[in-house]
Structures are given as C-alpha cells and as structure tokens.
Amino acid sequence: MPAHDVLIIGAGLAGQRAALAAAKTGATVAILSKVHPVRSHSVAAAGGINAAINPVDDWRSHAYDTIKGSDFLGDQDAIEIMCREAPAEVMWLEHAGVTFHRNEKGEMDLRAFGGASMKRTAYVADITGQALLHVLYEQLMKYHEVIDRFEEWFVTSLIVNDNGECVGAVAREIRSGRMETFNAKSVILASGGAGQCFQPTTNALICTGDGIAQAYQAGAPLMDMEMIQYHPTTLAENGFLITEGARGEGAHLLNSEGERFMEKYAPNKMELASRDVVSRAEQTEILEGRGVGPDKQGIYLDITVVPRKRTLEALREIVNIGKDFAGVDITREPIIIQPGMHYIMGGVKTDVNGATPLPGLYAAGEVACVSVHGGNRLGANSLLDTLIFGRRSGEHAAARALDMKMPNASDEQLNKDSAMIAEILGRPKTGRRVSEIKLELGETMNRYAAVYRDEAGLQSAHEIVRRLKEEAKTAYVDDKGAVFNQDVLGAIELDYMLDCSETIVMASLERKESRGAQFRTDYPDRNDAEWLKHIDVSRNGGDTPTISYSEVTITDWQPEARTY
C-alpha cells in the first residue's frame, strides 16, 4: 500500500500547486488524477488571473471588488489573504516560466475584467489556464523524484478511520482496473467542480463533482452550494464559453432591437458588471421577447468593435471557437450567446489554510469553499483561488504531517468499493442507461436551478433528483472489462453528480432571498437581517442532507447596496 505524508486528489491548478508547495517543505507527496494532469479542466480557463501588481493598484481595491462581487457573502478574512498574496503568487508563476503577455515596456500587461475597478488581470493570450497548467506540469516533471504522480487513477472514496480522521483514499488504476488503498497523513482534495450536473455547461465532461460528493459522504460539510454561476457569454449553439476577456477588450452585448441593453441595468460598468448581474440582464431581455437567434433565446455579442488585430492577438482561441464550433468569424459579425452554467461557488467547507472540519482532510480549488467567492465569483478570481489556497493547503497539510506518525489505513473501504463496482457490473439490462439519467438530471437542473429560481420549480427539481437517485441504483453498464472501463466510472460519477445536485437544490430552497447568483423570483430582495449567513449542508452520519448555518466573516467592509 503506497503511503505518503501528503496525498493530493486532483491535478488541476489547485492540486499541482499544492503538490509543489508540500514537496518544497520536504514532505513525501503523491498526486492522483483521473485524467492526465494537463487534461484537467483548468486547461480551459481562458481569460486570465487577477492580481494587484500594477504599482498604482492596491490589494485592498481588489479585495473590495471581490467582496462586492460576492454580494457580501464572501468571508473577508479569506478574501484579504487571497488578494494580498496574489501579486507574489503571480510573480512566482512568472518565474516558473508562464509566458505572460507583456506591455511595450516589457512588463506584464493587464486587461480589464468584469466587476473590477481597474485593469488587473494578467493573461497569456486567451489560453491563460492552459499556459499556467502546462507550466505547473513542467514543474511536476522537474520535481519528478520527489512528487509521485499517479496519472489516470480514479479515486472512489476517502478513507476515514475510527477516530474520525481522514487517512487516505481508495483509487482504481483506470488502465488495469486494479484497486489500491493510498495511505496518507494528510489528504488534499483538489478535484474540481461539478458543472456536469447541468446541461448545457461550459464545464468539461470530467467535472462531475467527485470530490464534493466524496467529502460529503465522508461527513465533511458543504457550504454555499446554492451559489451557481451562470456565465453571461456561452455559445448558444453548444454551451462553450466565450471568455469575459472579449468584453474586457470592449465587446458589446446587443438585443434584437440592436440596443446595448446593459445601459439599463448597469449604467456605469455596462458589459463589465458582475457576471450574475449581466446574466440576469440577458435573461430578462430574452424573457421579455428581445432575444435573437432562431428561437429568440440568445443575445448578440459584438466583438467587431474590438480592433481586428487586437482580437487576433489576444482572443485567438475564441476566434477559433467561433469558426470551428459556430461557423462565425467573430472579427466580422456578432455571435449569438446566452447565459450558461459555468462555475460552482460552493463546495467543501474549509478555513483559510484549506483545512476542512474533518481532521486530516484539506480541500482547495473549485471543489472547496473558503469562501472567497460568496454569492458570485469575479472573473479571473478562480485561477487565483486555486493557486493561493492550493499552495496554502499544500503547506499546511505538509506541516500537519511532519508532526505525526503514519496512521493506519485498512483495506476495508477498498473492499467496499470493489464490491460496489462488482455490483454495478452485475446489474441486469433492465434499468435505464446512465447517459439517459445524466441528461435528465442536467436538463432538470438547468431548468429549475438556473438564473431565475422559485419555490415551485426547486421543489420539482428536488423530487426529480430523488427519483433519479433511485433509478441510478439500477442503471446498467455495457462494459464488463477491467481495462479502461469508462462505462463503470460513468456510473460512479453519476452518483456523485446526484449527491451534488441534491445539496444544490436543498440549499437553493433554503435561502429565501436573492443574493449574488441566487435570484428567487418569490423573494426578489437581498435580506441581510435574516440571510447574511452561509448555508452548510452535511450528512452528519445519516443518509439525508441536514442544513445548518455559519457566520460570514466581516473585517473592514460592511454590506451595502450593490450597483454597477
């Protein structure tokens, strides 16, 4: 049984950053990922990463923008840490080799992003996530002697011992089907988001909420699960993301009358208001009949107002996306977009060092909820979140490990998981197909837990999710083999998605106000008196989710009305 001081689950930006930080302290490190690390979804991040590196900028301004963006649900102690440490982190990345775009003087260039009071987004064309992820992976290759990589290993469960501590994880080597218990002193979950609970989504097929569900099953609480970000510009055609960088570069949003309608909703920031604000504005235009496209469900994004040379240089990836996936030359004509599910602000609850309330378990990145994003994440703050809290959890998990002996981990969980897989493989062909259930789940969530929500819709979503949970128990798979059995992994992922969806719907039902990404048409106002608090969901050892609340940490910034 492999044993390490620190075991990291997930090799996106958060996981790789955690591994490098933990290894730097001298700890032994293993990093596991169900896909090759550079395939992780961080690769898709296009726009950039925020940091107050401009000498005339101030991290406090970044912090304030983040807090306002979060609709005052973000924890201000965590936000302060993130924004204060951001410049040094971005410089660390630059020194590691990230090819950040420069200005004429050879310094790092910055672009404008939504919800920000000045240009503070560093970028690499529009492949920022890819550039960061590949450079971190270069570092993993550099430190291959001190960081053990387990690539294409699928974690099925966390291991919790009798003292209630997390002491490792069970994983399946995808190419052989072999199950293995990984023993560790500290475990860091960095397994990303859960966008696949929604259809369509900007998220990749692998974003199935595995870590969120695994932590939840192991007894760790989830927080802010109702906060689901709809991105204002996703391709109407297939849900692909058009980066906010486009609006940062000056692109306009137009309705069927050709109006730049953001004038009505955010006269100061216009297209660059917070994402929740812009998505709602678009949805309102669509609902009031001013949508565009064949079924009037879209909005025009007009990039032709950006100088063509600049578009080709700084937005090349979306030029390609327009051309390859929508047949549109975005430098010459507007493209049809709509709000689409993009990011989950909630996740496994952690403190500012990444520690969850479950001893030995840490979490960082999209799987975690610190909470720096609160009700709404600002663009280009997520990459920052993954790196800052990835590094911090790596350091703290390693420090914890230095002080202790290797705890015992038995094969009990491995045996359970092997039995679970055997049971899935043995299911008769009478149930529904996994893909069918997944599609129904995604469409349900996208209908009822989207930009606008209400009690009745959320209740139906809850009923459907619970029915799907039952149906998933008999969903059958065709592949009975051991080698690269993606079919059986799909069935396991479906269970994770159902757990995530259930907690999302429950938390959305619970929050009887409108704040950030949660807009309840039956409770259209923000209600600080009753709801300036986090909603936590946990299983507490049982099978059904229970709800509790926790305080929002406020340091210097008192809640105020939010206008852009």
Partner: protein
C-alpha cells in the same frame, strides 16, 4: 440533422481477439464533431466504446485519433468534413493514433511514447540568474512568439504520423521539439546553448526530422512543430555554430541566397547550391514561413510558390533593399507564426511596406507569361 455512418476501430486487450471494425449510425447536425458522433454511439448504443475526451472544445488534448487515416482531434473534426474525406462508401473511419501502442479501442499509450519524449527535452524553464524581484523584463514580441509553441495541447496528433518516428522510433519527435522551442525562444531561459547542443548532438534530435510536413498538417493548434524545429536548427547554426548533422542549414541558406540573387526562387540554382535528394517543392511553404517577416509580406502579395519556381527573375532592387534592411538589423526577427496566420489586416511596418512596394512590380508574374520571357 443528418445521418452519418461511423466505423470505429475496436480492440479489447482482455478478449485475446484481434482488432476489428464496429459500425454505428449516428444522427447529428453536419457541423457537429466526430467526437459527438462517437459519444452518441457510446451513450445510446454501446457504453464500452473506449475514447479519451473531456473538454469537447479542442483544448484538453484528450481526443487525438485518426479520422479517415488522418491524425487530429475527434472534437475538432466536423462530421461533414469527415464525410467529405471518407471513402466511396461514405463511412467515416475512426482509428487510434499511430506510433503509439494501443491500450483499448481508440485509447493509446501516450506515456510510453509521447510523454517520455517530452521528459527527454528538460521541459522546464531554467531561469536566468539573478531572478528579478518582480517579473523578468522581456520584449512583448518574444512572449507572443513562444505562445505559439505554448499553444500545444500535447494531443499527440503530430506524433501519430511523424514519418521520421516511423523509421526511427527513438526520434525525439515533433511535439517534444516544439516544446524545446518554447524554452529556446524564451529570453528568460539561461540554457539555450546547452539545450541546442544536447539536441543537436543527439542523433535522434533536431537534425533527425525529414521535413515531411505531416506534423504541420496534423496539428489542431497551429503549433507547426516542423517550423519550430527549423527555427531550433537556425538558432543552433547561426548563434551557436552547432554543426548540422544533415546539412540542413546549408540547404536553407541556399534558399535565402537564391532569392537574394534571383528575386524569387530559382530551382535550377537551388539544387546545386544545396544538395540533392531531399528537395521537394512542398518545402516551399516552409521557406515562406521561416524567412523573416519582410520576405513573407512580399511573397504573400500574390506570388504563388509554383509561379516562383517556374519563373526565375533577376533580383529587383526592392528585394535587395529588403535583404539590406533585414541583414542590417542587430537582432534577427523570427517570423511570429502565432499571429501571422491571420494578420491580413495588421498595419504593415512602413519601412518594409515601402520596400515591398518597390519589389512588387518585378517580383510578381501576373499571368506567368512575363516570367517565361524574363
């Protein structure tokens, strides 16, 4: 909606049986991708079809396959395009990539080949000392320039059909060498010379590529690995006097000198100037993309390689002027391919535009007749 027939190459290592073809009919809009076709078959009919995929948007690099014998990304190949290149039976063939062992169905062992080669090229920045407190100050162009090789998503499509690798499996290959340019082109890296020496002396290194263009054709991200390899060779030869094992540098200089002398390419001169055997007209696009930017500006104005090859001229003054400008520069300007593929509207550099203006009348053969009479 339209119907498409997909023939997927299947292989189950546990069955003991040989690989076989498995046909499925899918219904999708024609501009949807081959990957969506495969996933429809997998979701609706047979969940055991093995294919790596994640982003569906040509960014994660998971879904490298061969479609009708050509390597590429399944998610980046439209069904209608695939149909157009299919055989007479109108069936789209999807197979695993080549040059790598097959694990199952469309899934190949990238670790055994691709990633091993990447690890071979010391794939991390060796930063110049002292490390600055803030960012390294480097030119804007240099960072945009390496972004082209940074755009590589490690999909392996170029490795799949690399001709040299078929002959010499130890060849370090297009992707890993493109990755090398990412460091050699990066002014922050302190080890340009060591890197080039290392890969120049390795007989499976930068001089082992045979200019077959397959990697350029295969690459879905415009990385153009062969061009990066040629740039590595150029820097190795010009800046570090590393000896070319295969005479490639002389071959390239022959192109440059030939044009300086004739105004456009004169094949008859080129062959003796260079050396026989390896020259092929297809090498012309390489010339176009590897010469300094002013040359391309000139060539792009209407001149086709075929005309250039068939109709030699004496070098007009404009061309000479361009050579003077370029050779008079302190710094060599590498043609930045990352942007240049689509920069039709970029304002031209006035100095260069003026020179190209002078060059144009003589260099362009409007209908070919002028050329033959010259």
């Amino acid at each position: 909606m339209a119907e498409f027939k997909l023939k997927i190459r299947r292989y189950d290592p546990q069955s003991g049986a040989a690989p076989y073809w498995d046909e499925h009919t899918v219904e999708l809009e024609p501009h949807r991708s081959v990957l969506e076709g495969i996933l429809q078959a997998r979701n609706e009919k047979d969940g055991s079809i093995g294919v790596r995929c994640s982003c569906r948007a040509a960014i994660c690099g998971s879904c490298g396959v061969r479609v009708n014998g050509k390597p590429g990304l399944a998610c980046h190949t439209h069904l209608d395009d695939a149909l157009a290149s299919a055989g007479e039976d109108g069936v789209i063939e999807v197979e695993p990539m080549g040059n790598m062992p097959i694990i199952k169905d469309l899934i190949v062992d990238m670790d055994a080949v691709h990633w091993k080669k990447i690890q071979r090229v010391t794939p991390w920045l060796i930063g110049k000392e002292p490390v600055p407190e803030r960012e390294y100050i480097v030119s804007r162009e240099s960072m945009i320039d390496v972004t082209q090789s940074m755009a590589c998503i490690q999909c392996g499509a170029c490795v799949s059909d690399c001709l040299s690798m078929e002959v010499d499996p130890l060849f370090i290959g297009p992707a890993a060498l493109a990755k090398t340019y990412r460091f050699v082109g990066d002014p922050r890296d302190a080890a340009h010379e060591q890197r080039l020496k290392d890969l120049g002396e390795d007989k499976h290194g930068i001089y082992d590529c045979t200019h077959c263009f397959k990697c350029i054709e295969a690459c879905p991200k415009g990385v153009a690995p062969m061009n990066q390899i040629m740039r590595l060779r150029r820097i190795a030869g010009n800046d570090f006097h590393i000896k070319d094992r295969n005479n490639g540098e002389r071959h390239e200089m022959a192109f440059v000198k030939n044009i300086e002398k004739n105004g456009i390419l004169h094949e008859a001169d080129l062959l003796p100037d260079s050396y026989g055997g390896k020259f092929h007209p297809r090498a012309v696009p390489e010339l176009i993309s590897s010469l300094p930017i002013v040359m391309t500006a000139l060539l792009r104005r209407k001149m086709t390689p075929a005309k250039a090859l068939l109709h030699p001229h004496r070098a007009p003054d404009g061309v000479k002027k361009i050579y003077e400008i370029v050779e008079g520069r302190d710094e060599r300007n590498e043609f930045n391919l990352y942007i240049s593929g689509t920069d039709a509207d970029n304002e031209p550099n006035p100095e260069v535009a003026a020179a190209a203006e002078v060059a144009e009348p003589a260099a362009v053969a409007p209908d070919g007749s002028e050329g033959s009479s010259a």
